[in-house]
């Protein structure tokens, strides 16, 4: 079976404390439970959660949706976005099956990055490692006004911004992520083709603004 890997890279630095981090936890829960109801996603989508604060950590390895368990997430420390990108590259390299003569490899991973601040580490180094891996669509989300959308723009073409990092807005973002994963897995299963650009994703809700 060819997996559709989905990586969530979530900023859990100190500034996310309180409402934002609770909203993120809630968002993951909503994401997982709605994808479990979707026959396309339930069979193909695999989910991993990488959090980053002072360091990056893969708190959930790439896991089948049906066995996914909600991780403990706490907000503390700084914003090591670069570390998160290089960890992502490393984990994707290890977890995503490559095509060989005997088996077809996995689909290209979908990546959703969410951050509310400036990276505090050497993010270009992480970015270089990230660029070496093959990913499908990569969506970077600036949660609130303090995130650096320019940095995110260097990571990917698809940058979206939330006006505020409150629970309703973050929830809307995760719903959109869920719809995107659903659509991605549906496309794969019905036509064998991957989602390649923002225009092929479901239209984002009003809370999620596309940064041009």
């Amino acid at each position: 079976m060819r997996k559709l890997p989905v990586y969530l890279l979530l900023d859990t630095s100190g500034s996310m404390t309180g409402e934002p981090i609770e909203a993120v936890k809630n968002g993951i829960q909503v994401l997982v439970s709605s994808l479990r109801q979707d026959p396309y996603a339930l069979e193909t989508a695999y989910l991993s959660v990488i959090t980053f604060n002072t360091n990056a950590q893969q708190i959930v390895p790439l896991t089948e949706l049906s066995v996914f368990q909600m991780p403990d997430i706490q907000a503390t420390g700084t914003t090591s976005l670069g570390d998160a990108l290089s960890l992502l590259a490393k984990r994707a390299d290890a977890e995503v099956t490559k095509t060989t003569l005997e088996q077809k490899g996995d689909w290209k991973p979908l990546v959703f990055i969410m951050t509310d601040g400036e990276p505090t580490d050497d993010w270009r180094k992480g970015l270089a490692e990230f660029k070496k891996q093959k990913f499908g669509i990569v969506v970077a989300c600036a949660a609130g006004q303090h995130a650096n959308t320019q940095v995110l723009g260097d990571i990917t073409d698809v940058v979206v911004q939330l006006d505020t990092a409150d629970s309703a807005t973050i929830r809307a973002f995760f719903k959109w992520v869920s719809a995107s994963v659903s659509l991605g897995s549906q496309k794969i299963e019905s036509s064998g083709q991957e989602v390649t650009g923002l225009s092929e994703l479901p239209p984002p809700p009003p809370e999620v603004n596309i940064v041009v």
Binding site: M1, R2, S33, R36, Q37, D38, P39, Y40, L42, E43, T44, L65, S66, V67, F68, Q69, M70, D72, T99, T100, L101, E102, Q103, K104, W107, Q186, E189, S190, S191, G192, Q193, E194
Partner: protein, 530 residues
């Protein structure tokens, strides 16, 4: 916060948590604390009075109460007597607030119980996810129970889901009947629980995954759409035995069966089947023609593209064989006699005139349809896999043309012979197959390159299939060349389809197409000569 961290915060430093615990066991602790207190930051002394004590402090105190139970040396000495008697309490000692007021036994017990409850609540404890209608068996980790001093425990909310908790082996068992995220209440008691002491509870979530099969809807395709075609199709052609001269030497002949089923992914969304097939037996010259085609999922009228390709192929081959059958048969006989370059070329050229014409005409007919319906040629994108074959005294002649993914193979179960009639156009990247509707495909050299022909003694089955079958059954292009994979396919087919008794088995074949393979829900089409 650990005890070590807490002690650190009041200025008492230790290397490890164990050391901090050991420290608390010493009767000299009070002296130690008294000595250390002078080093404490002033603010800490001033801000933390009894009244402003924050909840973290409370928890820590509870944890101390709780931890001391483990320690052999009765630290009640430490917590009760010395502190209670010490009337010259310092401010920082007031942090151990409750020490300032002597606790009675009940209060101490209550504090211990609360500390226990909090500790257990803070531990990571989850129930393994279940699947609906599948046996569930989850044992609570005995080490976890022991390490946290948990005594008796049980769960509420399991029965409604068809599960039960077996106390004998601390296992939740049963077959869950309801999918969803269910709330389960976990009740637990301290290992030293006695009547009158509390039972605590914690809410857990038990995820019961739905059966993926139950999530797939089967929505019929609207008949109003342009180029509607039924969601499934099947056909059987009994060719039957041929009587020889004066009814003697009766000769068995192969039959044909085919079936095409809309994929679950299309059925779920009510979108049409894009695959198609057709076959034909020419009574006069005894040629068999079989064809399957897979309309591209991303092309809006590909269902029509595959249909046109199949029918055009049959049409062109039928007419061309009427004209050239005799000629072709002679050339084949010559080729059989001597497999020379020259003879091979002669057969090849004539095959090109038959199959090549079918390919070219299919392309042209689709192009025409695109024009008539104001659409693009690529809206009709389809693969095309075709064979013509005939039995001679010296064996079978089989010729094929193949563009796109899927597969054509000649398989013999007894001799373990396998000949795959071409190469799939899967390409390095999934979903980047070639289609008949690409102009470069109908260049003569390209058509020639895709033609295959040969002679075989006999075979169990000649199989044409779309990638809805090759993907789940063979996975990769390399596996398509492996006889083991064909053996499993044939074994799998023979279990459900009666190929032995000259009966119409197309219904069985259609039913077989419903096989379950996670992540593989494309349209499936297969045509078999057997």
């Amino acid at each position: 916060m650990t005890i070590k961290e807490y002690l650190e915060s009041i200025g008492v430093l230790f290397e490890t948590n164990e050391e901090a615990l050991r420290f608390l066991n010493q009767a000299e602790v009070i002296d130690f604390l008294s000595a250390k207190k002078d080093n404490l930051p002033k603010e800490a002394d001033e801000t933390k009075s009894d009244e402003t004590r924050n909840p973290i402090d409370e928890n820590i105190i509870e944890e101390i109460f709780y931890v001391e139970e483990d320690i052999p040396l009765k630290s009640s000495d430490l917590l009760d007597d010395p502190l209670a008697e010490d009337t010259s309490k310092t401010d920082d000692m007031a942090k151990f607030s409750d020490y300032s007021v002597p606790m009675n036994e009940d209060e101490k017990q209550q504090a211990r119980d609360n500390a226990f409850a909090e500790t257990v609540r803070s531990k990571h404890f989850t129930l393994q996810n279940a699947k609906v209608n599948q046996p569930y068996n989850f044992s609570v980790d005995p080490d976890f129970i022991q390490a946290n001093h948990i005594g008796e425990f049980w769960f509420d909310g399991l029965e409604a889901l068809g599960l039960e908790f077996d106390k004998a082996d601390n296992t939740i068992k049963g077959i869950p009947t309801k999918s969803g995220d269910h709330k389960i209440t976990w009740h637990y008691r301290h290992i030293d629980w006695t009547e009158g002491r509390p039972t605590f509870q914690r809410d857990l979530t038990l995820v019961v995954n739905p059966d993926p099969r139950s999530l797939w809807n089967n929505t019929p395709t609207s008949t109003d759409i342009p180029f509607y075609k039924p969601d499934c199709d099947k056909a059987f052609r009994k060719v039957g035995a041929k009587s020889g001269f004066l009814g003697l030497r009766k000769e068995e002949r192969k039959d044909m069966v085919a079936a095409s089923q809309r994929g679950r992914s299309h059925a779920h969304g009510g979108s049409p089947r894009d695959d198609d097939f057709a076959f034909h037996f020419d009574e006069k010259n005894e040629w068999y023609v079989l064809v399957v085609a897979d309309g591209a999922g991303s092309a809006k009228y590909s269902r029509r593209g595959s249909e046109i390709a199949c029918h055009t192929t049959i049409d062109v081959c039928r007419k061309a064989l009427e004209v050239s059958s005799d000629n072709l048969e002679q050339l084949i006989a010559g080729f059989k006699k001597e497999d020379s370059q020259e003879n091979r070329k002669k057969v090849g050229d004539l095959i090109y005139q038959v199959l090549g014409a079918a390919v070219f005409k299919s392309y042209k007919n689709i192009e025409e349809e695109a024009k008539n319906s104001d659409s693009e040629l690529r809206d009709f994108s389809t693969t095309l896999l075709m064979t013509i074959c005939k039995k001679f005294k010296f064996g079978w002649f089989v010729a094929s043309f193949w563009v796109g993914d899927g597969g054509i193979g000649i398989y013999d179960k007894n001799t373990q012979f396998l000949k795959v009639m071409g190469e799939p156009d899967g390409g390095e990247f999934a979903g980047q197959t070639r289609f008949l509707t690409m102009p470069e495909i109908i260049q003569p050299a390209e058509i020639y390159r895709r033609l295959r022909f040969g002679l075989v003694d006999d075979f169990t089955a000649l199989v044409l299939m779309t990638d809805g079958i090759t993907d789940p059954k063979f996975e990769t292009d390399a596996n398509l060349m492996r006889i083991e994979k064909w053996n499993s396919l044939w074994e799998d087919l023979s279990k459900e389809v009666d190929f032995e008794n000259d009966v119409d088995c197309s219904n069985q074949l259609l039913a077989w197409l419903d096989f379950w393979s996670p992540g593989n829900h494309d349209d499936r089409t297969i045509a078999i000569l057997y």
